[in-house]
Amino acid sequence: MNILYANVVSEIQKLCLKKRTLFLLIISALIPIGTALILSVFQNNVGIIPITKNQFPIFVLSIFTSYFLPLVIAMVTIDLFSGEFGDRNIKIVLLRPISRFKIYTSKILSIGIFIIVNLAIAFIFSCLALILIKGNYQFINGFLKGLVAYGVSIVPMIAIAIAITFIGQFFKSTGSGLTISILIYIAISIISRLSPQFSRITFTSYTDWYQLWIGSSILIGKVISSFIIILSYSMIFFGIGFYLFDKKEL
């Protein structure tokens, strides 16, 4: 267990040392502020409130979970897998006395931590950006619901990360791995839009499952069935992904 912990720390260090990671986190902080500025213009000039103060953090979250975070997750994940095979840095990790299973798990865990940090930054900055928006902010309807929504969003985002680690096993360069990941994500999104039957069984349609948690009542049945679908995809991709990673030769 200590080895796993040590490798998670070293993977996170690797992430932190990359300028790209810092850049992505800064953008995560800027998105809520930019959105709040646009919204305040709407409020003052058009006279409509498409989003109230209470809903603002959740609206920001919808931008994150449907567009921004999947992209960021793809970049970081492909970098940690394909990237390291590409520039042969993976050798340094593989030479350590640590099993490939632990390497694989620790990489996914560190991506998970990155996702949590990213969502935390998004939540904190969207709360700060509330100063720009008129209206009341309530504790239960605003803060608490926001916190729950951001919290439960960790689950589908980690599932996306696991699916991308699977795709990443097929590529030895960051560029092609990333491009294919994005194309697959776009293709699945379009098909889900056109076919509700398909969308119900793809986990990418559950990126907004936080909506199930924040309504007037929590739809328990839907929450459980969504969770099972997300979990089963994660287990399959984790299993096959690890198998490919284990068999991979330099």
Partner: protein
Amino acid sequence: MKKKYALTGLSIAVGGVMLVTSAFASATGSTGYDTYKSAIKSTLTSKNFTENGTIIVKDNGKEFSNINNTIKENTAKESLSQNTVIKIGGQTKTLETYWQDGKTVSKDSTSNIYSVRTINKNKKFNGNKAEIGKIDSSKLNDGEMLLDALVGNLQNYVTLDSKEDGTKDVAITLTDSQIPAVANAAASILVKNLANNDNEMGREKDFSSLKKDIVGSIPKLESDIRIDNVSLKAEISKDNYITSQVADVSISGKDAEGIVHAITLDLNLNLSQFNNTTPDKVDLTGKQVKSITNKEGFRHGNKDEQDD
């Protein structure tokens, strides 16, 4: 080494079984959204039914307008009768409309004269359910694709309750951030414009004045307009017809003086007598009758649309 692959294999197998089970469950068990959609389709294509609807608009809890509308419709025989009671701020007005023998006959409670107009075959009733009754199923399928795309993941929130006697209840309630921001913005802009351009509404005399009355009764919202809550509830009969449809919409906003208004719109629709409705007829013998052509009808009803 073997233990490692056993674990991975197990993870894939369990995941696969779980996925197949839930995919199978979602493919066989129809969802609330699909049930609702199929009931709407069969109701819309039904050519013969009695509809009783009430729309109540309240402003800060005070009833502003109450409209009760009964339609008996038989599209196959091209006949229809409609009786509307409008109560706005203490005033009551009734409006009768008939569609019989290729003519429309209308009369409101302010006069004893029946207006008779020969129906232009290309331009049937406007703003009337009779048109919807004419929609064929191929057009509905095109609309369905569009609806699916627009509704997107919202369809997950439709709940379905199948009763033992074969009837079903479907319901959806969207509050706050569950309403997509774009839809909320579009609806808010619509509400704002509705209040400002009330004299441009409608085309036919009866319906334009009706809409004008409704719209005129709603306080004019100027700022901070938003949709707070949308809820729909429907009861579906064994024959897959919608027998009851309740819709509640809450809109809030401020008027020009900065007073906050919470406007609620409650729609209560009951449909009955499917395939068993005979529209009422009005006997015009001995009554005061005024024949009008379509062109005059427009001009009479709406002065702004002369150059239309």
